[in-house]
């Protein structure tokens, strides 16, 4: 179990994290989700031991590792830009963590080689061991970085924006592949992302962060359906924020015959499996997005329609940041 206790970190005058508490169960797949500047990467680096907290503690399985540097925490870290060693072959990159071990802990050469081959198989890059990182595609490099981190048999896998540098299609494939890999290996993993879709799809639990604090920890279902704060509500998934403090998802709005809230339709377009209607509240001009089932007929542009919320959450407007 990983326990993070009251972690505080400042960079000069800039407060990066305030009193972070977090517990992670063995085998869990955790997403640290937040916008840039939310402190998610700093938290990941502190858990790794690449950065040190000003206050607070990090425990791995009951052991206080707060002052132990990254090399002795037995964590696998996958960097956003992969940080592959460009002058080494792919196989040498993967084997690096084993070859730098002290002689008495170092497996024999043949065993290291076999281990690298095995990991190449795990990340589906068999036969590419003799290539150099520069000769691989982005997705392949990402998998090499992962294999290299796994080679040291870490007790915890940490990934910093693992799909950030990839294009949409590769990103999706790799996401699915990583989820399967996690299921097979059951390795406790934490990844940082700013993409809520990624977090909801992959993680067992999502930690939503903003301004160096945790706003909510919960399953994707909880975070999406029962956002704890106004920030979570609009950062995770799409939300209409009405002037009275109601937060309503586009798919939770119905167009009705009679109603208090009236919307002037500005734009209608097809969005995947449904229609997306964009409009303005008649009274305040607040922009509203509505999903209409693709079998129904959407309203016409320029029309004024009445709406009703099937489901809404209310946050005090003072809470809005």
């Amino acid at each position: 179990m990983i326990r993070v206790e009251n972690i505080t970190k400042r960079f000069g005058n800039y407060p990066a994290l305030h009193g972070i508490d977090l517990e992670i169960q063995p085998g869990e797949f955790i997403a640290l989700l937040g916008p840039s500047g939310s402190g998610k990467t700093t938290l990941l680096r502190i858990i790794a031991g690449l950065e040190f907290q000003d206050e607070g503690h990090v425990h791995f399985n009951g052991e206080d590792v707060s002052d132990i540097p990254v090399g002795k925490r037995n964590v696998g870290f996958v960097f956003q830009q992969y940080a592959l060693f460009r002058h080494m072959t792919v196989a040498d990159n993967i084997a690096f963590g084993l070859t730098v071990r002290k002689a008495r802990n170092r497996p024999p050469k043949a065993e290291i080689k076999a281990r690298a081959q095995e990991l190449l198989r795990v990340v589906q890059l068999e036969g590419l061991g003799d290539r150099y990182p520069g000769q691989l595609s982005g997705g392949q490099r990402q998998r090499v970085a992962l294999a290299r981190a796994l080679a040291i048999e870490p007790s915890l896998l940490l990934l910093d924006e693992p799909f950030g540098a990839l294009d949409a299609k590769v990103r999706k494939d790799l996401r699915r592949w990583l989820r399967d890999l996690h299921k097979q290996m059951g390795l406790t993993s934490i990844f940082v992302t700013h993409d809520q879709e990624e977090a909801l799809e992959l993680a067992d639990r999502v930690v939503v962060m903003d301004h160096g604090r945790i706003d909510q920890i919960g399953t994707p279902e909880q975070v999406y359906m029962e956002p704890a704060t106004a920030f979570v509500s609009h950062f995770v998934g799409e939300t209409n924020r009405l002037p009275d403090g109601r937060h309503i998802r586009p798919h939770d709005i119905e167009i009705v015959a009679e109603g208090r809230d009236r919307v002037i339709v500005d734009n209608v377009f097809r969005k995947g499996g449904s229609w997306r209607v964009e409009g303005r509240l008649h009274e305040t001009g607040t922009i509203v997005e509505i999903d209409v089932d693709s079998h129904d007929t959407p309203p016409a542009v320029g029309e004024t329609v009445a709406i009703a919320a099937k489901r809404a959450r209310i946050f005090s407007t003072a809470e809005e940041r």
Partner: protein
């Protein structure tokens, strides 16, 4: 048809400018760089290869060459280590006084070499700050080889660091962090990760450092004392021979220095080519 020619013409004006500029640059280069270079070699070989070889094999010339090689052999490795350490510290760590260090590295470039030499005389000379103490202990720095080495190290300090700092800044510290996270110690990280990443830049810096170490005149002239056969480096020896109207001798030794510069230029070009190739392959 007219339309077509007009479409081509806009290029002609800039083409004239292009030709003019290239001609100007080439003429300037020929006059200020190539001509002197040719003059050095032709003066050196004016009376045939015999006198040239005699001049180079002259005991004083020989000892100047030897001293220059010794100075370079000591100061270049020292500055390689200093330069690496400074670049590493500046690019991988943050600490108070970092900007000051960055400024100080440039100091030898911004101060006149003569002043640099004088600083050492003021520090270690007979009338200097540490002079009495040094002479009491029988240590001779000024007008001796240690002084020349000190001055040369000072003058050539920025070359390696200036070459490495931008390179290492661009590369960031992720590679090192990756190595450390995989369990590598400091030395393994440096040897297996950092050094391969910077090797071409380092070699280039060392080359420039070496060229300057062998060619430095001003600072060395102040601290050397010009003792023939003892504290004369090649540039100082050239001056002495020239002042004594031994033109063949002066130009013969000068041509060796010039040859060194040419070799450095060729190596630099080769390195730059490899460097581009290397950094090109990264993306």
């Amino acid at each position: 048809m007219t339309r077509k020619t007009r479409k081509i013409t806009p290029g002609t004006e800039s083409r004239i400018a292009q030709v003019l500029l290239i001609t100007l640059a080439l003429a300037f280069l020929a006059f200020f760089l190539m001509l002197p270079l040719i003059a050095v070699f032709s003066e050196a070989l004016k009376q045939g290869i015999g006198p040239f070889l005699d001049a180079v094999a002259n005991p004083d010339a020989f000892s100047a060459i030897r001293l220059t090689l010794i100075i370079a052999a000591i100061s270049v490795p020292l500055n390689m280590v200093f330069g690496l350490a400074a670049s590493w510290a500046i690019t991988k760590f943050s600490f108070p006084g970092k900007n000051l260090l960055l400024t100080l590295i440039d100091l030898p470039f911004s101060v006149s070499p003569v002043v640099s030499g004088l600083i050492f005389v003021l520090l270690f000379g007979a009338q200097g700050l540490l002079g009495p103490w040094l002479s009491a202990h029988g240590v001779k720095i000024i007008f001796a080889v240690p002084g020349i080495i000190l001055a040369t190290v000072f003058i050539t300090f920025p070359f390696v660091a200036r070459e490495l700092i931008p390179l290492m800044m661009e590369q960031g510290k992720e590679d090192e962090e990756a190595a450390v996270s995989l369990g590598a110690n400091g030395w393994q990280t440096f040897w297996h990760v950092t050094l391969p990443n910077i090797r071409w830049g380092l070699l280039y810096g060392v080359l420039l450092c070496n060229a300057r170490a062998m060619g430095e005149f001003g600072a060395v002239s102040v601290v050397s004392g010009h003792i023939r056969g003892e504290t004369n480096t090649m540039p100082l020896h050239v001056e002495i021979l020239y002042n004594e109207y031994d033109f063949v001798g002066a130009f013969a030794v000068a041509s060796l220095l010039a040859a060194l510069a040419l070799v450095t230029l060729v190596l630099k070009t080769v390195l730059e080519w490899r460097f581009d190739l290397h950094s090109g392959a990264r993306h």
